[in-house]
């Protein structure tokens, strides 16, 4: 049985004095894969960050519910503990902190259970194999000196280890070569189950061909202007976003109760 995981209602946000999100409605149930596409600067990463709880983004209206609970004011780490995960478009470099150490700390924090060094090593090894990441990366400093593609793979490795309920992948496929895209897509597919859900932000269809999403949303100027399925993604690939002006918003699930 699918159950409602995320419910976003009329969500508006601003950063500094800039209004970015202009009333987002989005419902995600377990077992679903949602795709968000949209032109550069339309607010995709902003939506991801607002869902994750970035302190610089302020919610000015609307609400975010996770498993039925309003999380508008919940701190970032608490959201992660509830099972929300964001694969960053631009992951931070943290010098001096090894991937393994960091992930063991994170796993301990998220599960609330101590991770034995030994068991965790095996778990990590396993996930690294799954994503075709060289074992030596466990001892490297987090993202430090990683290539663009390596950083993205590392994000998915984190997701594989932390096993979130809702994973938001912000352009994880950008910067990956053809083979890496396949590996990562297959990895993501293995992680997808009836108990979790994913929101995938992308500009490319290659990854979508692997993942077979349930919904494709088009985000323009801080609003979801159209929702469809894979056909919509293909259409956009051919025609671009010119046809989607925010004035023509045909509100996705506009009748929804907020």
């Amino acid at each position: 049985m699918n159950k409602k995981l995320l419910n976003v209602c009329n969500l508006k946000s601003k950063v500094e004095a800039e209004k970015i999100l202009q009333g987002i409605n989005l419902e995600v149930e377990t077992g679903e894969i949602h795709v968000i596409m949209g032109p550069n600067g339309s607010g995709k990463s902003t939506l991801a960050n607002v869902l994750m709880g970035h302190p610089e983004h302020e919610i000015t209206d609307g609400k975010v519910e996770f498993e039925g609970e309003n999380i508008n004011d919940l701190a970032v780490d608490k959201r992660a503990k509830k099972g929300i995960f964001l694969s960053f478009q631009y992951p931070q470099e943290i010098p001096g902190v090894t991937v393994e150490n960091f992930l063991r700390t994170a796993k301990t924090a998220v599960t609330g259970e101590n991770q034995s060094i030994f068991d965790f090593k095996f778990l990590l090894e396993d996930k690294m194999k799954l994503l075709d990441i060289d074992q030596s990366y466990a001892d490297r400093y987090l993202n430090k000196g990683f290539s663009g593609g390596e950083k993205k793979k590392n994000e998915i490795l984190q997701m594989a280890v932390l096993e979130p309920k809702l994973a938001i992948l912000d352009e994880t496929d950008s910067g990956l070569d053809v083979d890496a895209t396949r590996t990562v897509a297959e990895g993501i597919k293995k992680l997808a189950s009836d108990d979790n859900a994913m929101i995938i932000i992308t500009h490319h269809n290659q990854i979508l061909d692997y993942l077979q999403p349930d919904y494709v949303h088009v985000l323009v100027d801080g609003k979801i202007v159209k929702t469809g399925d894979m056909d919509l993604a293909r259409e956009i690939e051919k025609e671009g976003y010119a046809a989607y002006k925010p004035e023509k918003v045909e509100d996705y699930k506009s009748a929804k109760n907020c």
């Binding site: 701190a75 970032v76 931070q92 943290i94 998220v110 400093y141 984190q158």
Partner: protein, 467 residues
């Protein structure tokens, strides 16, 4: 995990217990030649030392308090009692150390530490050493490790030849003060070719309101000798300003190798104005490990004088200044011979309005050709109120020297904190991780128990950072 031994001092509440003071002798406030003579008489010193003290006092009275670096105007030197002798004689058996004093040391884990990994323990209680011991095998090899007071009596010639030759009373006001009122400290002598493979350790600790601490450490390594000396410091918390003006003189012979490690963790009212110097002969090596935590004010610039051809100095330092602290620290290296090399690697951290400065000196004399110096110092500020900066000074009399210099000053990144928190790690731990990562290049060079201690101290300093 390693067991903590020599550097157990992390729980400040443990350190901040103070015993009721019982003093056999307490000098009057302020300094006069009479006070100095009393001190010297009480210690039953040779005349040359009495004269040296009096000469130092004269210099002290002429010297001005430094007008650079930290603000020392709150320091009332007249209020600082120069000499306090604890109600205990020197003991070589732990059982005979008075109960009260023992309790304080017990809480620092000293006898434990000694049993496990230490060659000898010199524990300074107020101004005099009350406990001293050295493993027998070292004694058989001719290694001497004892308190300075007794060293003057038993090894007068050696002490006289070296005492305050590297650090002289003329250097600055506090070296002059030290010369006048020094008391306690350790004397180490390692004969030619002897390698001491277990670290020698001392604990300095003071326990009297207003008391200054002026211990003198003198270490002499003959040709080809090797040793590691660990200085452990902590002091109970008092409301009256306290002064620490010790002196450390290290003589590293040809081909000898000395590592001198300190993680200082003073109570927050302490003025730590310590002077440390090493003189290194041909192909000798001095390695400094220096952690500066605690204190109200620290001004500490260990100096390595590379006197012999091919001599080498390595300095590794971490300084952490929290609220109300002004820590001005750095390494000084003087290349005074050809083919000498030095590496300085430091990290400064400031939080809660604390001030952490790196002030370093790199000097090369005319004949220091083919010398090589590498300096890397980085600062990290944890908030907008804190101040951290690097102030390296270079004085080069030759251009035939290879210098690598890197200085970075930065503030902790909010995006990095957000990134770590998005993986479930709370804000405090996220900051601690970033700070630990910042010092990691240094920590990984340290012996394990030091690295663990450093991490513990950092975590302790970061507790309650939020809000």
């Amino acid at each position: 995990m390693s067991e903590k031994t020599q550097v157990e001092d992390i729980d400040r509440s443990l350190h901040d217990t103070k015993n009721e003071n019982k003093y056999r002798y307490k000098s009057e406030k302020g300094l006069t030649p009479e006070v100095i003579k009393d001190i010297s008489r009480e210690k039953d010193e040779p005349q040359w030392m009495t004269d040296f003290r009096l000469k130092s006092l004269e210099i002290y009275q002429q010297k001005e308090i430094p007008d650079w670096g930290a603000d020392l105007s709150d320091l009332n030197l007249d209020e600082i009692i120069a000499y306090i002798r604890p109600d205990a004689d020197l003991q070589s058996d732990w059982d005979e150390v008075p109960e009260e004093i023992k309790n304080t040391f017990d809480s620092l884990g000293i006898p434990e530490a000694e049993k496990k990994s230490l060659a000898g323990v010199g524990a300074q209680y107020d101004s005099e050493v009350v406990y001293h011991n050295l493993k027998e095998e070292l004694v058989e090899q001719g290694v001497i490790y004892m308190d300075m007071e007794n060293a003057i009596k038993e090894y007068e010639d050696v002490v006289k030849e070296h005492f305050m030759q590297l650090i002289t009373p003329n250097d600055h006001k506090f070296s002059a003060l030290h010369g006048a009122v020094w008391s306690g400290g350790s004397f180490v002598y390692v004969p030619a070719g002897v390698k001491v493979d277990i670290p020698l350790q001392s604990y300095f600790r003071f326990n009297a309101p207003g008391a200054g601490q002026f211990e003198h450490t003198l270490i002499i390594l003959e040709e080809g000798a090797e040793a590691h000396f660990i200085e452990g410091c902590s002091a109970p918390q008092y409301s009256i300003n306290n002064l620490h003006a010790g002196a450390v003189e290290l003589f590293v012979g040809e081909n000898a190798s000395l590592r001198y490690s300190t993680i200082e963790n003073w109570s927050r009212n302490m003025y730590n104005l310590n002077t440390k110097r090493a003189l290194v002969e041909e192909d000798g090596v001095i390695e400094w490990v220096s952690g500066s935590f605690g204190s109200k004010v620290s001004m500490l610039y260990p100096m390595s004088i590379l006197k012999g051809k091919g001599a080498r100095a390595e300095f590794t330092g971490v300084t952490f200044a929290a609220e109300g602290q002004y820590l001005d620290t750095g390494a000084q290296v003087i290349h005074a011979a050809p083919h000498t090399t030095s590496t300085v690697n430091t990290r400064s951290i400031a939080k809660g309005g604390g001030k952490a400065y790196y002030r370093g000196l790199l000097k090369a004399t005319e004949n220091a050709h083919h010398a090589k110096a590498t300096v890397s110092c980085e600062s990290l500020m944890l908030d907008n109120d804190s101040v951290s900066d690097t102030l390296p000074i270079m004085k080069l009399e030759t251009d035939d020297i290879d210098i690598g210099h890197e200085a970075k000053v930065g503030r902790i990144s909010e995006e990095s904190i957000y990134y770590l928190m998005s993986r479930g790690i709370d804000e405090e731990e996220a900051k601690a991780m970033i700070v630990r990562g910042f010092v990691e290049p240094i920590a990984k060079e340290l012996p394990l128990e030091y690295a663990v201690e450093l991490n513990n101290l950092i975590s302790l300093e970061l507790e309650g950072t939020i809000g």
